[in-house]
Amino acid sequence: MKRYTLLAALAVVFVAPLLWALGTSLKSQSEATRMPPTLFPTEPVTRAYGTIFEGTTQTPVLRWFANSLIAATLHMLLVLAVSSLAAYALARLEFRGKRLMFAVIVGTLLVPGFVFLIPQFLIIDQLGWLDSLTALIVPGAAGAFGVFFLRQFFLGLPRELDEAALVEGANHWQIFTRITLPLSKPALATLAVLSFLANWNDFIWPIFVIFSPEYFTLPPGLSILQGAYTIDYPVIMAGAVLASVPVLILFALTQRYVIEGISRSGLKG
């Protein structure tokens, strides 16, 4: 019983701020600034959502939502494709320089990301990708985590099936697509969710490489929203809710994959 009391108290600390944000988004502006504050709206109104769905040229919130969805989805697919191919080569194929290559790739996991930001900005500029969704989709897929994570998983798969397939005359592309990938669904799902979340939530990169409101994603958009609606708290919180609901639903559906993936990265990292 003592355990449940403690857990319930903690649960309040973790959930109350989220409920408060949801509640505020449904308040009228006068209620949101009333003292004493109310946790839930006494008369719920959807005005704030009407305002953000309508949007303005400076705050096209639905456009940001679409941009976030497009960028995170394409980024996730790109990560899955390039990481699984590279991980297969590193786990299953023999070639010169393999150890060195793996060491260099994994070594970059230890280098803090900010070191790359300024030169990356200049490279993106040279490629003509500044102020476009491409800048949010592609560069992040060069991260080493996906390759490392999938390689570890592939190494754990039994080799017998590959060998049998080779004997039957299959090539590595066929083994990769018909044996390795189908056996790796849990790991691929984990990587998919983690890369989607990371891209969806990214703030530091988009605020520097995107300049036009129509190419913003939700996280940098929220800070614009805050600037535009300074004390219209319901509108700001409605934006926050819009940015949270998809990832909270995704997390609720894939909790096992996310938590296992993170646990594994901790133990083998």
Binding site: G113, L117, I118, G169, L222
Partner: protein
């Protein structure tokens, strides 16, 4: 390529390790390596090159200046000295105060969730949930909760504290919000580590008549050593990388006191476009982080 590898493989039916055509591994690697070279390796080298120039994004001329960008950081008379070291100090303060909480509190959380009980998965998910939200959502939400005039926190506590505008409260707010946001992440890593401690060690401790505390002290803690090293290392790195909370929650207030090193570096490099100087700063910060990591590893090794 497909037919080549097919023949190559078929002609060696009995080899234990699958062999392949020479090009095959490189074809599998090519897409990733292309991205890796362009967006990781090239920037790593290009960054050093930039730091040796007076590199202003908006100017055509980018004269080579040798180590000037680095020496300026050590020269109290230079334009960047005071602000840079104030931002390094801010990062240091944040790291010093956030890391202990983020190492100890998640351990408590993991202990609470370690043994199976009804609703365990539910609570684990609940405590982890804030982590799936981005820094923008979290900071914006807490900015309103901590608002000195209308915030719920001041009202609940019956206080009138400027959480985001005065010291030391701005630090309390930044550390507190970060703990709330990321405690579940470290907690999950500890949990996985506890799951890996062999059950018979606990059974043996019971046979020896060990109480709960002795069991924790002599079985759980030593078993978690490698995981704890990972948690400490990644938490130091993450804290030293802090940017969003300071940018959105306190906006560096008061007077730049809570403007972290990353905040200052990116502001110099990507807002003011003084990229040479900013690149040099990022290497100095990296050097500081390497030093901290080495000390951290040494300490862990000595205790084992």
């Amino acid at each position: 390529m497909v037919s080549l590898t097919l023949k190559g493989a078929a002609s060696r039916p009995a080899t234990a390790v699958p062999r392949s055509g020479r090009a095959t591994p490189y074809l599998f690697l090519a897409p990733y390596l292309l991205l890796f070279v362009v967006f990781v390796l090239a920037p790593a080298i290009f960054g050093i090159w930039i730091s040796l120039h007076d590199w202003d994004y908006l100017l055509e001329a980018r004269p080579f200046v040798g180590l000037d960008n680095y020496t300026a950081l050590l020269d109290p008379a230079s334009a960047v000295y005071a602000d840079f070291w104030m931002s390094m100090r801010a990062t240091g303060i944040f790291t010093l105060f956030s890391v202990p909480f983020l190492v100890v509190l998640p351990l408590g959380l993991a202990l609470l969730l370690h043994r199976p009980f009804r609703g365990r998965t539910f609570f684990r998910g609940l405590f982890f949930a804030p982590y799936v939200l981005g820094v923008a959502v979290v900071s914006l939400m807490w900015r309103l909760l901590l608002d000195p005039n209308l915030g719920l926190v001041d009202w609940l506590l019956g206080t009138d504290i400027g959480w985001t505008t005065s010291l030391p409260w701005a630090w309390v707010a930044l550390v507190g919000v970060t703990v709330w946001w990321t405690i579940g992440f470290n907690g999950v890593i500890y949990l996985a580590g506890m799951q890996d401690i062999p059950r018979d060690l606990y059974d043996a401790a019971k046979v020896d008549g060990a109480g709960k505390w002795a069991e924790f002290r002599h079985v759980t803690l030593p078993g978690l050593r490698p995981v704890a090293l990972f948690v400490v290392t990644t938490t130091i790195l993450a804290s030293a990388n802090m940017f969003g909370q300071s940018y959105l929650l306190t906006q560096g207030a008061p007077g730049g006191e809570t403007r972290t090193a990353i905040y200052y570096i990116l502001d110099q490099g990507l807002s003011q476009y003084k990229m040479g100087s900013a690149a040099a700063m990022s290497y100095v910060l990296t050097l500081a982080l390497i030093l901290v990591s080495v000390i951290n590893f040494r300490l862990f090794r000595r205790r084992s």
